[in-house]
Structures are given as structure tokens and as C-alpha cells.
């Protein structure tokens, strides 16, 4: 934070309207505030270097038009500016942290205002969500639920909807996830409760009840409850293994504490239920990553009741998120119009339209086909390419796209390629593949999303998917 006292005058309306997509445009509005801070003079030059965010050199070399207000410039350029004269740009670059906190506060209050409306304006919510939802509180969880359509836009219906959905989940769980012995026991209790009482006291020969050929664990019949249970054991084992490998560095998921066990158990229930309800797709490795993101956000909701019901809410939102990309997981549908190969070729086409040179270089010169890197990007919704916190920011943009998740996903993938264009153009097959499969961690996420948003949406496919 800024050293020394800083008394901020009240924000004027002009600033409020400029909703900050890029820090530069915001900065121009803060001219009035900055003036009060300029008294420090020479001390600024020293502090300036410390407070700037690191800018990847790629961003500069991209060849886009930069106006004077833009903060995305290299550090030495900023320094010379400072020495030239303390105009608004120089001073603007300085209290970046102050600006950030102001922006955060403003955003938070904007969100809270929007979410407290009786009738939520979804379009407006989509617009502001695409610029990032503030961490902390229940803003992100609630916004995601609204964006996915889990919560209705009318505020007063929320409680009823949530209760109904959560009850539905509990019923589904009881119906589908019960193990056979618990089921048979329940049936026995219902049918012959009186008999049990007598036998339990007397010693002597235990009574035998004859049962049909289908009712025992070793039965080979197909329709048998036990057979169905055993058929799933392989899948259950795979789910368990994958869950253990999900985010091993985050204590929420990994480790032997009862907390992480509980979380893994909840996620296992969700994945099993999904697999049972969708026998055509069942469980595919990777679904755990998508679920982990959703479940984490919902569980860390500060609203106690929401956090307690995170499992049920995550299940429904998980189903909604997967609903338009579920074809990607089915191997038989690979070559169909909704399958993964078709989506990858759309990515290729998108790149071709926006940057023919890079497209040509990738497709023909280095022969790096989108299948080699894009498969994981698209099926897992980028959860494996960036660190956990960045994923939340990226998903804010993904979920808030009015043209759908898939469209924004392709645009972000295209943006990812464009952002490392310089490296790709100078690399061969091996280098490019290596770069794309281990996407650089130092990329500026805001910048990446800005590039993605500047790519125009592919509305033709949107109409098809309706």
C-alpha cells in the first residue's frame, strides 16, 4: 500500500461509468485523486519500480496500438516518463495498488448491488462478471450459480429452488448410490420386522430363509443388484485414484485429514451419480478436474448454508457445465459434428481468421496440429493449464459469455496461441509442442482474457447449438 496518509476524495460519477477493462482507461479518470499525491516528488521515482506489475515481453511485441494511458509497458519506459515530467501518466503508474484496491471495492459493491436486486439483470451480470469477480465472500459462488442458470433470476425464488434441488439430490443419492447390503437390509426390515425380534433373543439353531437365485452376492445374473454393484467397482476405483491425484498441493483436496477425505467423498458421490445417470458417457478421467473447481468455489462460500450444501449445488452446476461439451468425452462421437475433432478444427479456423501467419506456421511449417495441445485445453476447460487461482478468473469470463462457454473457450485458446506468437514463430515442432503442452505460467491473465474478448465471437455456431 501507499506509504503515508492518503485521503481520497469521493469518486465522481465519471469514474463509475468507466468500468475498468484495462487499468489504463481507468487511470485517466483518477486524475483528480492523483493530484493530491504528487507532493512527494522525487521519492516517487524510487517507489515506482517496486509497485509495477511484471509485464511479459510478449505483450509488448504483439504490435497492437497503445495509447498513452496504457500501463502495460515495460518498466524502463515508465521510468523515463517519470523523469520527463509528472503528467497524469507517470503518476498514474505509481499507486497501482491503490487503484487496484479502489477498483476492487467498486467492483465488490457493484456486484453486491446487482445480486441484491429482486430481479437480477443477467445481461448486466454477465458483463461485469466477464471482467472478474472479486474473491472472498459468496460473490463468486452466487454469480456462477446465476450464470449457469441454477439459480433463477428472480431473487425471491432462490430459497425455494435451492431447497427443491438439494432435496432432489438427496433422493438421487439414496436411490442410486446405496450399496446392495444396505438395500437388502432395508427391504428385510420392511417385510418381516416382527420376526426379527423373536429370534434375536433365543439361542439355538439360526433360522434359514430361502432366497431366490438372484438375491445373493455371487449371483451371475445380469439384472441382479449385486452384479450391477460389482460392475461399477472398477469405475469407483478409477474415480478414487483420480481424486487422490487432483490438486495434490492443495490441502482442501489432498492428504489424509478428515476434511479432505470428506471433500473427496463428496466429489466421488457426485461423479458416481453423474456416471450412473449418463451410462453413455460414464466417468472419464478429467471430469474430476472440472468438478474440483466448482466444488472448491461452492465450498468456500462464506454463507454457511451454501457451503454445507456445496455437494448438491456442485452436482447440478457440474451437469450444466458439461451439458454442452459432454460430446467431447465420448470417444465414438469424436468425428461427429459436436465431437472434439470438430471443435478443434473450429479452433484452427478461428486462428486462421485472426492470424493467418501464425496459423500457417503451426499447421504447415511445424505441423503442430490442434489435437496435440488443444484436446486437454478444451475438454478440461483449461483447468490443467493454469494455477488454481487463475482458473477462477478465467472461468469468470468463460461462464459469463453471452454466446456460451464453448465459444469463449475457443476464443481463449486462440488468445493463448496469439500471446505466445513470438515464441511459436521461432520454434520448431518439438519446441512448439513443448511450449503449448506446458503453457508458460508467467502469462498475464487479464491480458490474455482481454485478447480473447477482442476476438469477435463466432455467432454462426451459436445459432446451431440452440
Amino acid at each position: 500500500m501507499i506509504k503515508g496518509k492518503l485521503k481520497l476524495p469521493p469518486l465522481n460519477n465519471r469514474i463509475r461509468k468507466v468500468f475498468p477493462d484495462r487499468l489504463g482507461s481507468l487511470v485517466s479518470g483518477f486524475e483528480g485523486i492523483i493530484k493530491g499525491v504528487r507532493i512527494r516528488g522525487s521519492v516517487w521515482e524510487v517507489e515506482m519500480g517496486e509497485e509495477l506489475e511484471p509485464i511479459p515481453p510478449n505483450a509488448v511485441g504483439f504490435g497492437r496500438e497503445r495509447d498513452a494511458d496504457d500501463v502495460y509497458i515495460e518498466e524502463d519506459v515508465v521510468d523515463t516518463r517519470v523523469r520527463i515530467g509528472p503528467n497524469k501518466d507517470a503518476a498514474a503508474a505509481t499507486p497501482v495498488l491503490v487503484l487496484k484496491s479502489i477498483v476492487e471495492e467498486e467492483k465488490r459493491s457493484d456486484f453486491e448491488y446487482e445480486l441484491s436486486q429482486r430481479e437480477i439483470n443477467l445481461e448486466k451480470l454477465q458483463r461485469i462478471a466477464s471482467t472478474g469477480i472479486p474473491d472472498g465472500g459468496s460473490l463468486r459462488a452466487t454469480t456462477w450459480k446465476l450464470l449457469l442458470g441454477y439459480l433463477p433470476s428472480s431473487h425471491e425464488l432462490w430459497e425455494k429452488e435451492l431447497k427443491a434441488s438439494r432435496q432432489k439430490y438427496a433422493n438421487l443419492k439414496e436411490e442410486l448410490l446405496q450399496n446392495p447390503s444396505a438395500y437388502t437390509w432395508k427391504k428385510d426390515i420392511e417385510s418381516s420386522s416382527a420376526l426379527q425380534q423373536e429370534d434375536s433373543d433365543a439361542d439355538g439353531r439360526l433360522t434359514r430363509q430361502e432366497i431366490s437365485q438372484e438375491d445373493h452376492p455371487l449371483s451371475l445374473g445380469k439384472a441382479n443388484l449385486w452384479q450391477k454393484y460389482f460392475q461399477l467397482t472398477e469405475m469407483v476405483e478409477q474415480i478414487d485414484r483420480d481424486l487422490l491425484r487432483t490438486h495434490p498441493d492443495i490441502p482442501f483436496f489432498s492428504g489424509e485429514s478428515s476434511f479432505s477425505r470428506k471433500n473427496r467423498e463428496a466429489m466421488k458421490n457426485i461423479l458416481l451419480l453423474f456416471a450412473k445417470l449418463n451410462p453413455a458417457i460414464r466417468y472419464v478421467q478429467g471430469m474430476n478436474e472440472i468438478l474440483a473447481t466448482i466444488y472448491y468455489v461452492f465450498s468456500t462460500d462464506t454463507d454457511k448454508e451454501n457451503a454445507a450444501n456445496a455437494e448438491a449445488d456442485s452436482f447440478f452446476c457440474f451437469v450444466r457445465i458439461l451439458s454442452d461439451s459432454v460430446d467431447h468425452f465420448c470417444q465414438q462421437l469424436d468425428n461427429s459434428s459436436g465431437g472434439i475433432l470438430s471443435t478443434l478444427s473450429r479452433l484452427s479456423d478461428l486462428l486462421k481468421v485472426h492470424d493467418r501467419e501464425l496459423w500457417h506456421h503451426l499447421e504447415f511449417t511445424t505441423k503442430v496440429k490442434p489435437q496435440y495441445y488443444g484436446f486437454r485445453w478444451i475438454t478440461l476447460l483449461l483447468t490443467q493449464e493454469f494455477d488454481f487461482q487463475s482458473i477462477f478468473r478465467i472461468w469468470d469470463t468463460l461462464l459469463s459469455n453471452p454466446f456460451g462457454v464453448q465459444d469463449m473457450l475457443l476464443r481463449i485458446c486462440c488468445a493463448m496461441l496469439l500471446c505466445v506468437k513470438a515464441k511459436l514463430l521461432s520454434g520448431d515442432f518439438v519446441a512448439n509442442l513443448k511450449l503449448l503442452q506446458h503453457y508458460p505460467e508467467d502469462i498475464n491473465i487479464e491480458y490474455l482474457l482481454q485478447v480473447a474478448q477482442d476476438i469477435s465471437p463466432d455467432t454462426s455456431f451459436y445459432c446451431l447449438s440452440l
Binding site: N179, A182, D203, G204, R208, Q209, S212, D215, L218, S219
Partner: protein, 190 residues
Amino acid sequence: MVLVLALGDLHIPHRAHDLPAKFKSMLVPGKIQHIICTGNLCIKEVHDYLKTLCPDLHITRGEYDEETKYPETKTLTIGQFKLGLCHGHQVIPWGDLDSLAMLQRQLDVDILITGHTHQFTAYKHEGGVVINPGSATGAYSSITYEVNPSFVLMDIDGLRVVVYVYELIDGEVKVDKIDFKKTSSTHPAH
């Protein structure tokens, strides 16, 4: 939900050559978590076969077993139940309920599984259960030639156990079920 297979007195190769085909077709790997064998297998090949069904195998020594290293008695805990295992030729009179109850108290178990008589029995006695899975191959015993092949599968779930009895009668597999619930109070210590 733990599935425990209890069987014994196969007497392969001396008195029988193999398990009945219908039993063998039912016993597939992957379903059963533990196998308890009362003894008298008698050879190593049978031991290996049982190992393929389930890696967790517990055996006690019967008088005809060729492997001398099996223990006389064994106890194990599965879920909330303590199980005791013994071949039964050591308990005289053979198959006598009171003598077996003595052994049960000695081992301090809830369920005692013994064999040797080649007859399936299941008794409730003084808060515990004594189960004899019979002979899985139907081999003749010292007492009688009339032996039906039988074995037992226990489904242990929390405080209750469901015992499935598989018997081969006239070439057909008959399955019976016995429910047993453990009372939470333990009987007085000796």
C-alpha cells in the same frame, strides 16, 4: 459392506478332485474381500487357487493338511466383528455346541467358524454365533458319506452380518440367508 468367504474341508486330492463346477463358476475374483478357510485343503495348489480369488486368505490347520505351518487357531477383526477360526478336530466331542462355546470364549470372538464335521450348521449361542461351512467339495467325513457340498459367504456391514449359505443339493445350487445382528453390549468378561 465386506464380503467374507468361509469354506473348508475340501480334501483335495485325497477324497475329492475339485470344487463342484457350479461353485467354481460363481467364485470369481474381485468380489470377495477376505477368505477364511477352516483347513484340510490339503495341498498347495488349492491354497494358490484360493489366493487368486482373494489375496487376503486365512487358514487354520486341519489334520490332513500337507502344509504344517498353518496355525491351530486364528482370530481376526472385520468391521465390528471379531471372527475366530479353528479346524475343529481339536474340539472334542466333534461338533458339540458347548465345547465349541468354550473355544469361542477362549478366543473371545463374536463369530466362531469351525469345520471337520462336513455338515453345515449355524447356531446362536450365548451372544455369539458358531458357523460350520461344511465341506466345499462334498468329501466324505469320518462320520458319514452323505455330504452335500456347501460353503458360506458373509456380508458384514456395520453391526450386522448376513450369512448366505450355498449348498449343492441334487446338482442344483440352493442359496439361503441368515441374518444376525450384534447387540452393542458385550457379554461379561471371564
